[in-house]
Symmetry: C2
Subunit: 387 residues, 2 copies
């Protein structure tokens, strides 16, 4: 409904990103302010009405709450609206959706979504594990890593594949990251043998099945579609935005290998955008773990159940394949600074759709799909973008 | 603009609250699910499209992130949208604003805002202090308590009043709480001498100048105004919703005793609602500290600078005064379970505006003002409600 009403159409008119790093000396507020200013410059504005910030771990790792206003103030934007939003590991996409809300509701003419995360500030794994149920999951030692390892093992057992059959997700991501100046693993040539021989960190999951701990920040500026060309010559429309949830614990789901929330939110987003999945030119997938990329391809319907891994193994997800995935390196190789991740992906999607992706360009890219996974796929955000 | 469009008008059609307690045995998800179900029952619905949850301290105190989806799942609402939102100590109001966004944008037909906080789970003060700047404020020992004590001392020094001149805020709040079944300090008769003789906890601030550490949860259901009567006979309209920020640190402000963000967000909310502050029948103020209640009365323009305390001392803020404040006990005596507070206040406003406030009823209450303070007044949310 919202996107059918031309007054409520929302477009991206500015992007800003800084290189993902293993550990940066910049503070959270400096990183957030920097990408906000980059995005405002890109949109040729010196102010926004509202700022929505995605961050998951600063409470523990930097001892910092209240970071939306902290960043607004650091950026010199006294007076503007500033709120923080979260959806565990899908937090960046939640910031995007809030900025979308602000513009679509008419409450803001220009809204910024900023994602920022410094995972280098302390022990990220226990803080990340708080995305699970404290009473019944983390209390018995579960982490996001162990839950994804369980899903991977279930998949291997059910479909008779091997851990190596997932390697091509990682290989594709690392290939694409090499030419992304903002990637953590840029210029790093990875061979399949490196992935195959990487250490097992939570059986059957190996180091190269998991995205890295890192720091990063990215931002986008949104406005009404009918005013977008006042700010930029290459606006990108948000054609659909949708959130769905599943039973919180994977143990409460009939079939943990079926990502209900991913299927449901994709269905809703396609309906709102009035497009079909076959129209999608590339997919920025949530490859925090290779099993998750595989299951998302299946949930959206790009692959049959039990066949998602084959899309990678058969090179269908490369930049020149029928469905390019993780075109700038994905979570695996660009990096996954949690609250910033979906905003990096949105920046990359804008570059693709406006033919500014350089050596990472997907040919004739007109429609992009973004999915963001919160926790063990209990929260799923789907966004669809077009020109 | 948004509220001028009849299609975008938003109303409250259900409320749910549970008694504030010093410490509850219920878990966060149980409390959140309970008030969500109470509010859904009140609106005669068994499902909502979207849930926005306000919570500030669970990361540290319960080791729990990702609580919106946790509550949605606990409530049996698999599939719905669920996101968490924060604005430090104004977090409950941020959840209300997000639900407002979701309905006003057309993305949700029925949206719930739930606030939940269990401050009893650990050391609340250091977690609350993370609402300040970790690098320059908490690093040198500042807390919300110490910052409010500084503001109070500045006020005393500038205007030549005494700490006792603030006592009537607390007295009024405790009086009103006595007949609120959901108040922490219900049935507790407090005399001015009790307040006057209470221990100094951060000079010049005494125990009774500060709101208590406690547990609580509250919820509201929002829908389009033009459909509200399908759900309830007594809908309440959200006439204006606005957020503004100030320079983050009080030390960076020209005059820390002028709450710029409170003045600015009130101005914007009045403009959106097309009403004047003189039309306000009662004010649910953010009396986390008595100095804050005083400064908010001045920032909105109900009192001249330096005269806010006098409104309390002159009994103008009692239930029968010209501007009743904290009509169900306020943060001081109903309690201030952070993420839930503004939703308790919204429930109370709905009861007042629909003449269901019982012994706390404000006569002829037709227009209500709510303000919510994040941190040291760096984030301010203003909401205006009417029938």
């Amino acid at each position: 409904m919202s996107t059918g009403d031309p007054l409520r159409g929302v477009s991206i008119v500015g992007i800003g990103q800084i290189p993902v790093q293993k550990a940066t000396n910049q503070s959270l507020k400096e990183m957030g302010s920097q990408v906000l200013h980059l995005a405002m410059e890109d949109a040729s504005v010196d102010r926004v009405d509202a700022l929505f910030v995605g961050n998951m771990l600063a409470d523990e790792l930097q001892g910092q709450k209240h970071i939306a206003t902290l960043i607004a103030s650091e950026a010199g934007l006294r007076g503007i609206e500033a709120l923080q939003v979260r959806a565990a590991t899908a937090t960046g996409a939640a910031a995007l959706r809030m900025a979308y809300f602000a513009v679509a509701s008419g409450e803001a003419r220009l809204a910024a979504a900023v994602g920022v995360e410094k995972m280098s500030g302390g022990l990220a794994t226990p803080a990340l594990a708080k995305a699970l149920d404290a009473k019944t999951e983390t209390a018995v030692g579960a982490t996001l890593l162990s839950q994804n390892a369980r899903l991977m093992q279930m998949y291997i057992d059910r479909y008779g594949v091997s851990a190596d059959d997932f390697n091509f997700f990682s290989l594709n991501a690392h290939r694409n990251a090499r030419t992304n100046p903002n990637a953590l693993f840029k210029d790093k040539k990875i061979f399949e043998s490196v992935i195959r021989n990487s250490p097992v960190i939570s059986p059957p999951l190996r180091l190269y099945d998991a995205s890295p701990v890192c720091d990063g920040a990215a931002a986008v500026i949104l406005t009404r579609s009918n005013e977008a060309r006042a700010y930029t010559d290459h606006p990108v429309k948000i054609l659909g935005s949708s959130v769905a949830t599943d039973w919180f614990r994977i143990d409460d789901r009939d079939d943990p290998l079926y990502l209900f929330a991913a299927a449901h939110s994709a269905h809703e987003a396609f309906r709102k955008a009035n497009v079909h999945r076959n129209d999608v030119d590339f997919f920025e997938v949530h490859d925090a773990f290779s099993i998750m990329a595989c299951l998302l391809l299946e949930a959206v319907g790009f692959a049959e159940r039990g066949e998602g891994w084959r899309m990678a193994a058969d090179h269908k997800i490369t930049l020149r394949g029928p469905l390019p995935v993780a075109t700038f390196g994905g979570l695996k190789a660009r990096g996954h600074p949690i609250g910033a991740t979906a905003l990096y992906q949105t920046c990359e999607i804008v570059l693709q759709l406006t033919e500014r992706a350089g050596r990472n360009q997907v040919k004739n890219a007109e429609l992009a799909l973004l999915q963001s996974v919160g926790g063990a796929a209990s929260t799923l955000l789907t966004h669809i973008f077009g020109v």
